[in-house]
């Protein structure tokens, strides 16, 4: 159970049951659907950009506890951040969940997102943890279509 609890941390379970910013944003000027065909996880990320800043962000969809909690906590972490800051955070987060050392010493701290460190012990779940981030990345690049993890 020890390892399982590493993956399913209380904060993750809590976010998966009561996701934050779980709504469509009518004012969104970026909208991307992220889809993992392997497990059927599907989220739509809504982003309201103001210049280079993520003014507001929301998401909707269905997926496992890891993907939903990750999407929820991502929205909290990137709200108000610049595009570059959000991208740096994604890079840092990706390193965390894949168990890679952080290359950039100046990268912003992950804060609460550290709770996903247990994912690195479950390689099959990395795509769950990064699905929303991939969709956000696509949205920040101005893509409007769907992205897939495959």
């Amino acid at each position: 159970m020890a390892e399982l609890r590493d993956l399913y941390q209380e904060l993750i379970l809590e976010h998966s049951k009561a996701p934050r910013n779980y709504r469509a944003l009518p004012a969104a000027n970026r909208k991307v659907e992220g889809y993992n065909p392997l497990c059927g996880d599907r989220f739509t990320i809504y982003v309201e950009m103001e210049g280079d800043t993520i003014r507001n962000i929301g998401f909707e969809g269905a997926g496992c506890a890891i993907s939903k909690a990750s999407a929820s906590m991502m929205t909290q972490s990137v709200k108000g951040k610049s595009r570059a800051e959000a991208e740096q955070l994604f890079e840092r987060f990706h390193s965390l969940v894949t168990g890679q050392p952080v290359a950039d010493g100046n990268a912003p701290p992950l804060g609460k997102l550290e709770v996903f460190s247990g994912v690195s012990e479950f390689p099959l779940r990395v795509k769950c943890a990064t699905l929303a981030w991939h969709a956000l990345h696509a949205a920040l690049e101005g893509k409007q279509a769907s992205i897939s993890t495959e």
Partner: protein
């Protein structure tokens, strides 16, 4: 053809014997499967992903090794001893497969990579010559993607269209609706024998009778049926029957397409190459006779031989015995799992084989899969390559436990304990 099918108005109930009559010693069977003797994450492996692929008995593994150590040669062409022996073993395997399916003759058995290739072969040969603009191919909602996409590709090419017979809330084919969709434009019915996502057994004889009444041939995807039910293609009356070796204790990369001789004869070749020809010049090629016409290139000789050994192994246990044991497991698991609060079974057809699909309130199947894996229990989670089934039930995915002859009641208990653990984690 229709008369023959009508001789058997009811479907077989192969898998209906109670547990008490189980005629095989399951512990002895388990000892035949080396892979089962291991621990996963410190727990004994409980392998319940048999609908994805079954494990292999030692006799199959040894047959592959023996072939490569003693017989390996190319077939149908060498004059030397090894080639002769490899050819004999390969063709003997074809004979075993023919007997296994109750085919009239071995030449009705085409070796392919698996059920997927078998269906693609029929779509690209029979389909391309028989299906034209405005024609229809009739499927059901419960098809695996491998019995959807090849027909979709054919329809796109020919300007034909797919019709889809619906299923009930319990996962049974609605036969009345199916019959209504059989029309003057229907050129082929392609239907699964057993649903991989739901476990439902389709009434193939009735389906064939309805289709043949209108002169429509029927392809049956038997990938999930042959490991569990005694199949006799002549009793079923179907025109094509496809299955994969790896789901019936055989090697991966080998499978069987059964086709009625007169249909195979009339079909153009699938792929061009060596072994599928009688003579070749730059002006004209004469194709080999069936089934060789459909087996271009050096086939998976070792795989075919291994498949023959696997089918003989199944025969030695007796499919009726296998089916009875699995049915008892399924009934036991169905009662135990459905008693867990928050569980909903997906697929509750009266006639089922091998598969227990379920969802759990508030917990995604993927999380169930990860937590069970930590308990050493292998199940499948996801859409099971049957997205239309998921859409039909309004769910993104299910967790699926699927049984084989070597599974035990204790393993079902472990599954139930594992699901209880999922509830604890998500409490």
């Amino acid at each position: 053809m229709t008369t023959a099918a009508r001789k058997f108005p009811t479907e077989p109930r192969d898998a209906a014997a109670p547990a008490a009559t189980c005629a095989i010693d399951i512990q002895k069977v388990r000892a035949d499967f080396p892979i089962l003797r291991q621990e996963v994450h410190g727990k004994p492996l409980v392998y319940l992903d048999n609908a994805a692929t079954s494990q292999k008995p030692r006799v199959v593994i040894e047959a592959l090794t023996r072939y490569y150590e003693r017989s390996n040669a190319n077939i149908h062409r060498g004059v030397h001893y090894l080639s002769e022996r490899a050819t004999e073993d390969y063709e003997a395997a074809r004979g075993i497969a023919a007997g296994f399916l109750g085919a009239a003759q071995s030449s009705e058995i085409v070796f392919v990579r698996g059920a997927t290739e078998a269906i693609n072969l029929v779509a690209q040969t029979f389909g391309r010559t028989r299906v034209g603009a405005g024609d229809e191919i009739l499927l059901t909602t419960m098809e695996h993607h491998s019995n959807i996409v090849p027909w979709q590709m054919l329809c796109q090419e020919k300007g034909a269209r797919l019709r889809v017979a619906p299923i009930s809330d319990s996962g049974e084919l609605l036969l009345d609706e199916f019959e209504k969709l059989l029309g003057p434009k229907t050129r082929l019915v392609a239907v699964t024998h057993v649903s991989n996502a739901l476990g439902s057994i389709n009434p193939i004889r009735q389906i064939v009778a309805m289709a043949h009444d209108r002169g429509v041939p029927v392809l049956v995807d038997g990938a999930q049926a042959v490991p569990h039910l005694r199949v006799n293609v002549r009793e079923l009356g179907c025109d094509f029957y496809a299955f994969s070796g790896h789901k019936v204790y055989g090697p991966t990369g080998i499978g069987v397409l059964y086709g009625k001789a007169e249909l195979l004869e009339a079909m153009p070749p699938y792929q061009g190459g060596g072994d599928m020809i009688s003579s070749v010049s730059f002006e004209k090629t004469t194709y080999n006779r069936v089934p060789f016409k459909f087996e271009a290139g050096t086939p998976h000789v070792a795989g075919a031989i291994g498949l023959g050994v696997a089918l003989a192994y199944v025969n030695s246990l007796g499919l009726e015995n296998i089916g009875a044991h699995e049915h008892a497991l399924l009934e036991y698991a169905t009662a135990a799992v459905s008693a867990i609060p928050g569980i909903r079974l997906i697929g509750t057809a009266r006639e089922k084989a091998g598969v227990l699909s379920f969802v759990m309130e508030g917990v995604h199947p993927h999380d169930i899969g990860t937590i069970l894996d930590q308990e050493g229990i292998a199940i499948r989670t996801g859409h099971h390559c049957s997205e239309p089934v998921m859409q039909r039930f309004g769910i993104p995915a299910t967790a699926r436990a699927s049984f084989a002859v070597y599974n035990t009641f204790e393993e079902v208990d472990a599954l139930v304990r594992g699901i209880e653990k999922v509830r604890e984690v998500f409490a």
